[in-house]
């Protein structure tokens, strides 16, 4: 659900296929019948944007029929915790939770009741009306099958078939997993979509066990690596928080970010936060600055401000940016509302486009609708190397870090990204050293031991191994831990050994243990599986500390320590210690340590007060939707999302809901043959031959209404833009009956762009292209709106129209 693994992650589907051969049942829930659906035991269609209703119905079904794994729920989740009696649910408050003030929630009513010491009060019988379990029941009592069917458009019998099959995994010893992707995340309620499933998995006892989990299929080969090393603005490597302007000192910063708990027996692993932060600062600045000085160099976020993609491009659109590094991306096609994005790029003074090929971003100024004479942006193209032209590592969806090798040299002037950054660093450092400048030390004091030093005291070529080692971390002085002495300059064996006093360094505490005195763990290629459950513990390396299934402490009975699943145990107590996977902070059997060690309370959150839009997922309609009201409650859309359509009255962020000009729900998705905005794949002739043209899939019924024939040229339009496409009329999409109205849905892939090989200038000796693609980006249509927590754009549900070309 929320993904199409067979099409977009075919290698992962190999394992789904094997599981099905062994008797596993596969359920596919998707607005369209996809390649994954074609292999499913049960397929259920749902209208884009109604996943919470669908899953909420499942939660009600599980609770009504008592399919929960009771002991797991009691001891491993916060189901027994008592919540502030002032807390109000959407059912009592016209669709919102208690505490909404303007566009944010005051979460004081979302807190747990605590005793005198501060320990959360619990009712292990799960009967107290204020306990999370009863609140959950009450909240999802509104998600009966009739209502859910009306909202999602899924027939009742299908809903029940799905619920019945999946609820079977609640049985002790049984597990079920979900593979999700952008189908869940790219909504204004994206995070809550995933939360719904997390709640289901906790109720069924499917977290921390083999075959369980809520598994993200990542959309790029190393996006897991990029999030782990925290390329996003709000986090530092290892999911540490970016400092706020109000956190003037390292101590203040640490206090604000280090959770404390008085829960007895809770390990609260994040209590070690200061160790990781100090080690990170050492990795950046070495001994060139004290910890406090190093902290002072870090950029700080203005309190309360958001610097994510949407805010960034909106600011760029208003002319607030002079320069922009578009590094290994193609915003002109990948960002929502491409017309706004492309317009935004024209406001820049300069742009650096680091990519392997020219793309719609670097060439935005000569794109359709652009007048180059009126654009002053200077574009620098820095050609970079592809993955096989450089050595390094990538991390996959399973958190496995794998070392990769260089096969060939990059062509011409292309350089690996790291080498480009290395060059930039040296030149910037020189400039700052010579000319000074605001906060010059932030650059000049950086320690940069990432390669062999030249005679000019500069590094001209990076050594990826020294970077990997830096990420792992070193002892910066002789250190004694538990009677053993670790010499200065040796690699830290794991993050358990990191210190907060600046005596250790680590570029990312999560990866501490990946490159040790024993060698490059990520380079391991032993494909034997001692576990028998597919852990392959000696193939590559996994964080944290090579633990393949995190929270595996939840896979055993809290009293006896016996695995729930005797035939497929993740960890097992052999009388002296845990064997199997690397055990996750679990104490000896009967020790009572709650297994979710990264949470202050140590238990899985069924009630999740940390999110911006509610502690329980609640169904809201997408920003643009086909019906006039939310059938679940009077609150139409998510109340806490940022609304650019309200800020920008000039029409660039126009919203069209229930607008007869755009009567069809439109969603975006991928195909096997192309990848992202297609910059690499449209240039690969074999792939372009497979999927040459932008297309739109629509139902037979809709095609009949519009008089559109299969294969005909059409235009797909939204309030923000339009794109040409070939119509694929298919029985795999069917209209939805939503609250008595027939709603049509169409779908478009987002892999195309107006730059084609047909436009390139070729010099003699260049390989000529064989195949040209056609079409432009699906994002010309998507709305400039994001999730309440992550700001990921709502590309999966908006309103559009389809017309024959020439009409």
């Amino acid at each position: 659900m929320g993904s199409n693994a067979a099409a977009n992650h075919p290698i992962s589907f190999k394992y789904v296929s094997k599981a099905m051969e062994r008797g596993a049942k596969m359920i596919s829930v998707d607005p369209r019948f996809t390649q994954t659906s074609s292999k499913a035991d049960i397929y259920a269609a749902l209208r884009s944007g109604t996943d919470i209703a669908f899953l909420g119905g499942m939660i009600k079904y599980i609770l009504d029929n008592n399919f929960i794994q009771e002991k797991y729920v009691k001891y491993y989740t916060n189901a027994a915790f008592l919540v502030n009696p002032e807390f109000k649910l959407p059912g009592e408050k016209d669709g919102i939770f208690s505490g909404l003030e303007g566009h944010t929630y005051n979460k004081s009513t979302w807190a747990f009741q605590t005793d005198a010491v501060g320990v959360a009060k619990k009712d292990m019988t799960l009967q107290d009306p204020n306990c999370v379990f009863q609140l959950l029941k009450k909240h999802y009592s509104r998600y009966d099958v009739e209502t859910v069917s009306k909202i999602t458009g899924t027939p009742k019998d299908k809903l029940l078939a799905v619920y019945k099959e999946y609820a079977k995994t609640g049985e002790t010893g049984k597990a079920g997993t979900v593979m999700y992707a952008m189908g869940w995340t790219q909504h204004t309620v994206g995070v809550q979509n995933i939360r719904s499933m997390a709640i289901i998995q906790l109720l069924l006892g499917n977290m921390g066990v083999a075959g369980g989990g809520v598994n993200a299929l990542r959309g790029e080969a190393n996006v897991q690596g990029s999030t782990d090393h925290c390329l996003l603005y709000h986090i530092l490597p290892g999911y540490l928080k970016t400092p706020l302007a109000s956190q003037a000192t390292l101590a203040g910063y640490n206090t604000a970010n280090t959770p404390t708990t008085v829960e007895p027996k809770s390990l609260n692993w994040w209590k070690n936060y200061p160790k990781y932060m100090s080690s990170l600062l050492r990795a950046h600045y070495g001994m060139n600055a004290t910890l406090d000085e190093a902290y002072s160099y870090l950029p700080k976020l203005d309190n309360g401000k958001n610097y994510s993609w949407l805010s960034l491009f909106d600011a760029m659109y208003r002319g607030k940016f002079k320069g922009f590094f578009s590094w290994g991306q193609n915003p002109a096609c990948s960002g929502p509302s491409s017309n706004k994005t492309r317009e935004a790029l024209s406001k820049l003074d300069w742009m650096v486009n680091v990519n392997i090929f020219d793309n719609e971003t670097g060439s935005f100024w000569k794109g359709p609708g652009m007048d180059p004479t009126k654009i002053k942006t200077e574009v620098f193209m820095l050609p970079c190397a592809v993955s096989i032209e450089k050595e390094g590592s990538i991390s996959n969806s399973g958190r496995w870090m794998q070392w990769r090798y260089k096969a060939v040299n990059p062509p011409g002037e292309a350089m690996a990204d790291g080498e480009i950054i290395n060059e930039l660093f040296h030149r910037l450092r020189d400039l700052y050293t010579k000319e000074g400048g605001p906060l010059a030390e932030a650059i000049t004091k950086l320690s940069w031991n990432y390669g062999p030093m030249g005679t000019d005291c500069k590094i001209h070529h990076l050594d990826p191994h020294s970077i990997a080692k830096e990420i792992n971390g070193y002892f910066l002085k002789d250190t004694e831990i538990k009677g053993k002495v670790y010499k200065k300059g040796t690699l830290v064996p794991s993050f358990a050994y990191l210190q907060d006093d600046g005596s250790t360094s680590s570029g990312n505490w999560l990866y501490c243990n990946s490159y040790t005195e024993k060698g490059n763990m990520a380079a391991r290629r032993n494909n034997s599986d001692a576990s028998g459950i597919g852990l392959y513990s000696e193939w590559s390396w996994c964080w944290p500390v090579n633990r393949r299934i995190i929270y595996n402490g939840a896979s055993v009975d809290p009293d006896t320590g016996m695995p729930w699943d005797r035939e497929k145990p993740v960890i097992m107590w052999n009388g002296f210690k845990w064997v199997g996977d690397v055990p996750d902070g679990v104490a000896a059997p009967g020790g009572g340590r709650p297994p979710f060690i990264m949470k202050p309370h140590g238990v899985g959150s069924i009630f999740g007060p940390g999110l911006a839009d509610g502690p329980f997922p609640e169904h809201y309609e997408p920003l643009e939707c086909p019906i006039e009201e939310n059938l679940m409650s009077p609150q139409f859309i998510n109340p806490v999302i940022a609304r650019w359509d309200e800020i920008n009255k000039n029409g660039i962020d126009l919203r069209a809901t229930c607008n007869p000009k755009f009567p069809y729900v439109c969603s975006t998705y991928r195909v096997t043959e192309h990848w992202q905005t297609g910059v690499m794949t449209r240039w690969t002739a074999w792939l372009a031959e497979l999927q040459p043209d932008m297309f739109v899939e629509m139902s037979v019924e809709l095609a009949k209404i519009k008089g559109i024939k299969n294969g005909e040229q059409v235009i797909v339009k939204s309030a923000r833009g339009e794109v040409d496409a070939v119509a694929i009329v298919t029985g795999r999409i069917k209209p939805f009956e939503v609250g008595g109205t027939t709603i049509h849905e169409v779908g478009i892939p987002w892999h195309y762009g107006w730059v084609t090989t047909a436009m390139r200038k070729y010099v003699t000796g260049d390989k000529k292209p064989e195949v040209f693609t056609s079409g432009d980006s699906a994002n010309l249509l998507t709305p400039f709106i994001g999730d309440a927590n992550t700001m990921i754009p709502e590309s999966k549900a908006f309103m559009a129209n389809v017309e024959k070309k020439g009409v």
């Binding site: 075919p10 290698i11 040459p692 299969n710 694929i728 795999r732």
Partner: protein, 265 residues
């Protein structure tokens, strides 16, 4: 040498086309300009430069829903291959694995194979005046490697191995699948070396002949007429000689006495 079979289990095929591209890569086949004509299927059919193509087909599931079928269309490598039968130059030939090999150097572009293949596999390229088709990666299987398509398939839908083993696996899988599932290929044209496991009835699959066979005209031509022609030719030459030595020539009367050297007139 043992006979080899490529087993294509359509119940596992997800239409990802890794096989289609792997084939192009191994055989260094160029891509060609295509257009979306309302389907993911591209190129629309096998071509001289496309030796494996995934065919996409949507059918009703009888319950208001839909089934999406994917089929890898490529040479079936028949034991009784019509193409080998008709090829005048021996460019198409049987390999020691039972597969049908292609020696393009020998191909004279007569296109007889194109016309007689019951599966419509060989494709003619006007530019090079030659016919092309899958050769089951002979260069790979001769070196103990599996065909490129088999290697690339992520779900295990394609397997390669000894004939007995693969057929056994096929029948076991069909047993597990139940319903309309069947093994396709072992019961005609002497048994094919590309065997399908079809989850649906063969008649459902577009372009897949239910009862493929070497065309009768080819059998009549190659198995009957060819030997008969030699017989007839030899026979008539022999009969003429016999006639001459027994009956003798017919000479004009005016050349004097009726020259009658042998026997009666």
């Amino acid at each position: 040498m043992t006979e080899k079979i490529t087993l294509c289990d359509l119940s596992k095929c997800i239409g990802c086309r890794a096989c289609q591209v792997a084939c192009k890569q191994w055989n260094q086949l160029p891509a060609g300009q295509t257009h979306n004509s309302g389907s993911y299927q591209n190129p629309p059919d096998l071509q001289p430069n496309t030796w494996a193509v995934i065919k996409y087909q949507e059918i009703s599931d009888g319950n208001g829903g839909v089934k999406w079928l994917f089929r890898k269309d490529s040479c079936m490598h028949c034991t009784d291959a019509a193409c080998v039968k008709v090829c005048p130059s021996g460019a198409l030939y049987y390999t020691k694995y039972g597969t049908v090999g292609v020696n393009n150097e020998k191909c004279i572009g007569c296109k007889e194979c194109v016309a007689v293949c019951p599966f419509g596999v060989p494709k003619y390229d006007a530019k090079t005046d030659k016919v092309f088709k899958c050769d089951m990666c002979l260069s790979r299987i001769e070196n103990d490697m599996e065909p490129a398509c088999v290697k690339a398939c992520p779900t295990g839908g394609l397997q390669f191995g000894d004939k007995e083993e693969m057929l056994k696996a096929a029948y076991e899988r069909v047993e597990v699948l139940g319903g309309d599932a069947s093994v396709y290929g072992d019961k005609f044209v002497g048994g094919t070396h590309m065997i399908y496991i079809l989850p649906e009835k063969a008649s459902v699959y577009a372009g897949l002949p239910e009862h493929p066979r070497v065309p009768l005209s080819v059998i009549a031509w190659k198995d009957w007429l060819k030997p008969l022609s030699l017989l007839a030719a030899g026979g008539v030459i022999g009969a003429s000689f016999l006639h001459y030595i027994t009956h003798g020539p017919k000479t004009p009367d005016e050349d004097g006495d009726q020259v009658n050297t042998k026997g009666g007139e």
